[in-house]
Symmetry: C3
Subunit: 350 residues, 3 copies
């Protein structure tokens, strides 16, 4: 990034409780304490790295309010309540320079159907396609090479990054953010087996994505057989995730990378699924269910469950099994010894 | 969907054995029995939901021929042999309005090499790229932003949805349907380890996709090292699936989401792989092999196998192991008790 | 491929130690020994297939220098030190005809920001987008529908296949080869939980990809929270792989399809991860670590480790456990017998 913030500008953003030292450097980058060089800003986000503060080369360091050390020459310490939150304030500013608000308007290379409705404040970037009857809301940004199908609706303040595909009739509510390559509304995977062939079951429902949802790169969300596949408000989905047809995802869930959720399953609010977890079809995971990475879940779970492994078991039990299974070679030997000793004993006592 | 079918139109589609009641509503949507509202069509697809029929708000309900109840006011019951199949008839009609047959022709924004051959009945949508020597058959539909590489061939009646990529020389047979973002013909993953570096093994074969195959969003099929990677007629592949180089997939297989099949493996006809299953390289899964979700298969399986787990074991055995492993803590205690008792016994009998 | 090499041309490429027989056929394809037909070239890459040489229909066969058999009529044997390496020489030539070097220049349909810098020897294919301030180096090939974001840098001799997306500020070093649909620089998956909602942690770092790296179709590499996600020189990544924010991948690693690596993890040089392996966050896998397919790794591993299973255990131990767990039904019975016998013995000895 061609970014440069003066120490004063940083202070204005984070409003420190206290400052120590001073620097003539402007901040041109952000780095961890040990990796930082002159001109970088760093921070102590986790107290276990406290000893690294004394030797960091960073020009500006965000520190907890009770930090005791003194800065080196040409180094500024900013003492704040929460260094990690303070860093996010700075990063949010940097983000604006990474992704500046584009001017409104339709790029001349975009292909927009005559009867599509595009708000005058929206930005339609180069080489986008908007099919007939689609509606694009206020301040929406389709960055480049985005596809919005016939009759789809993209509500206000959505940001669709390059290569995103939203197929016919699907709906995005306000402030949805789709990373590159996301596919919304591919056909559900449904077939009837007739005379030795798989006959397609038409998939004529839609996908509706709630407000403030974010979806990661190249993830795929299938349209419903009928009615809708639904992602609840505020849920965040990582990269390469598969959401099958008629799945209902609650509000404020976190779904990590490469998770797959099979058809007609319901995740209630605040479910958290670790990476590569697989969830079977037609089941319900209760509110706040958590699954560790690579879990395999194929039956209903009550609210507040925490599972691990395939099949998904309560976390503590799976943990215990994982320890004990490493002792299986020993256990087999012990049983063998018991058998021998018992045979011996029976012989001697007969 | 801006769809509206009169009750008479629905009757004409499903040809009921018997009708009960009547409605003045036209059908504007489809929903499950409990979710349906006035103006919706619903159906009893599974007898376990029979009790929901009495209270459904749907205006039109598809029911099995032997159903006994009576409709409410302004409600029409249509009694048919197979309500689910009847629904598919209606959905197929809806599908046509979701995805109307486009007019033939090449969109002016598409970039088509002068020596590519495009049938006059084909539709080349906006912002597609067709490289030199590619052939596009009768009634093919490249929806938008599709790429067809040099010398590739797309046979009649294929439908390539937005963002699909078919690289050089690959072949799609008739009626292949590719969901958004599918990649056909990426390089196989092959390297020789020479002097501490991985040297690329050129991948100069192709991918050939049999007729009536459907492939889900963002799935990837690698071109062969030489000769071809092959998907048999009628096979259906879900989203985010990886098919490596030189894999041979038989006819009428079902490959669920996020499955990966490693190089040079053969799946015979009618293989069914559950989601997230991994299949190792250079093996053969016999005809009709089934694998449960997340299975890991690394050796040949005879026809008709049904496996589960990693490594993939016969379904019943894996099921039994999954029960017994939860009793491992108990088993360790029992062995410990045995050891103590035996020691006691030996002491007392000595 | 419309390719045709005379037998003499093949000889010139592979420089055989010895030739036997002759053919009037020109080589129009490559196939395995049993699949080959007249006009094909074949090879004996693995001695276990030696018996197939006598009956192959291939017109030209690459064989090890010590091979003893004689060719059939109209068949040429070329005896070489390493038939597989000789085949790669021919395939490399075929590759050039599959992917001919394009002429330099910017396709008129590409959208290139006025202040982007594009080398005069670079090829910018149809419908690419290059945002402001991006730099495209000498001989770079953006094939078609590629996106290069604001301020990104693509160094000399990179090849970005159709549909590749490189977002703002990311950097590709020399000779990077990206298969179709790769996403470089999607946002890392980072949120703070505040008042019942997940608040986005801005992701303002970049992705930097070392020279000679290859990345497979539809893989996704997230940009760092700050500083960079880094892929070391010479590393090869397969399809549908997820690399999270701030991950450091060493040099010359091999990462197979559908692997996921969680945030801030480090893979040292020469790590090899089998397909569908999951690696947790904030850990380090030592130099040369190997993981079998579907492994799950959630803690540091020393250099040279070889793990398998979830959680990842030493290969031999996991192998042993996999055998013993199949004997669990038997073990439970043996313990039950022991208990019965012991009870009997106690009764009789009391």
């Amino acid at each position: 990034m061609q970014v440069s913030f003066s120490a004063e500008a940083i202070e204005a953003m984070v409003r420190p409780r206290e400052t120590r030292g001073a620097t003539v450097q402007s901040v041109r980058g952000i780095a961890g304490l040990t990796a930082a060089a002159t001109g970088d800003l760093s921070f102590l986000g986790n107290r276990k790295y406290k000893s690294q503060v004394a030797s960091t080369q960073a020009s500006v360091v965000l520190l907890p309010a009770d930090h005791l050390g003194e800065p080196a020459a040409d180094q500024l310490f900013l003492l704040v309540e929460n260094p990690s939150a303070a860093l996010s304030l700075i990063c949010a500013r940097l983000e604006q320079s990474l992704w500046p608000k584009p001017s409104a308007g339709i790029h001349p290379s975009a292909v927009v159907a005559p009867n599509a409705i595009v708000a005058s404040t929206a930005t339609i970037g180069p080489l986008c396609v908007i099919e007939e009857g689609a509606e694009i809301g206020e301040r929406v940004h389709l960055q480049a090479q985005v596809f919005v199908g016939r009759g789809a609706r993209v509500a206000e303040d959505c940001w669709l990054q390059p290569g995103v595909i939203v197929t016919a009739e699907c709906r995005l509510n306000a402030r949805v953010r789709l990373q590159p390559g996301v596919v919304i509304g591919s056909d559900g995977f449904g077939y009837d087996f007739v005379n030795g062939r798989h006959e397609k079951v038409p998939q004529v429902g839609i996908v509706e994505v709630g407000s403030d949802v974010e979806i990661g790169a190249n993830s795929t969300l299938d349209r419903a057989r009928f009615s809708r596949t639904w992602i609840g408000e505020g849920t965040k989905i990582d990269n390469l995730v598969q959401i099958a047809h008629n799945v209902i995802v609650g509000r404020h869930c976190l779904i990590c990378a490469q998770v797959g959720v099979a058809g007609s399953t319901t995740l209630e609010d605040y479910v958290v699924l670790g990476g590569q977890t697989g969830v079977g079809g037609h089941i319900t995971l209760g509110k706040g269910t958590k699954a560790a990475g690579q879990a395999g879940i194929s039956s209903d779970l009550p609210a507040g469950s925490f599972v691990r492994g395939t099949p998904g078991l309560p976390f503590q039990l799976e943990q215990r099994i994982n320890v004990l299974k490493q002792r299986l070679p020993e256990l087999f030997k012990r049983v063998q010894s018991l058998e021998a000793e018992l045979a011996e004993l029976k012989k001697s006592s007969s």
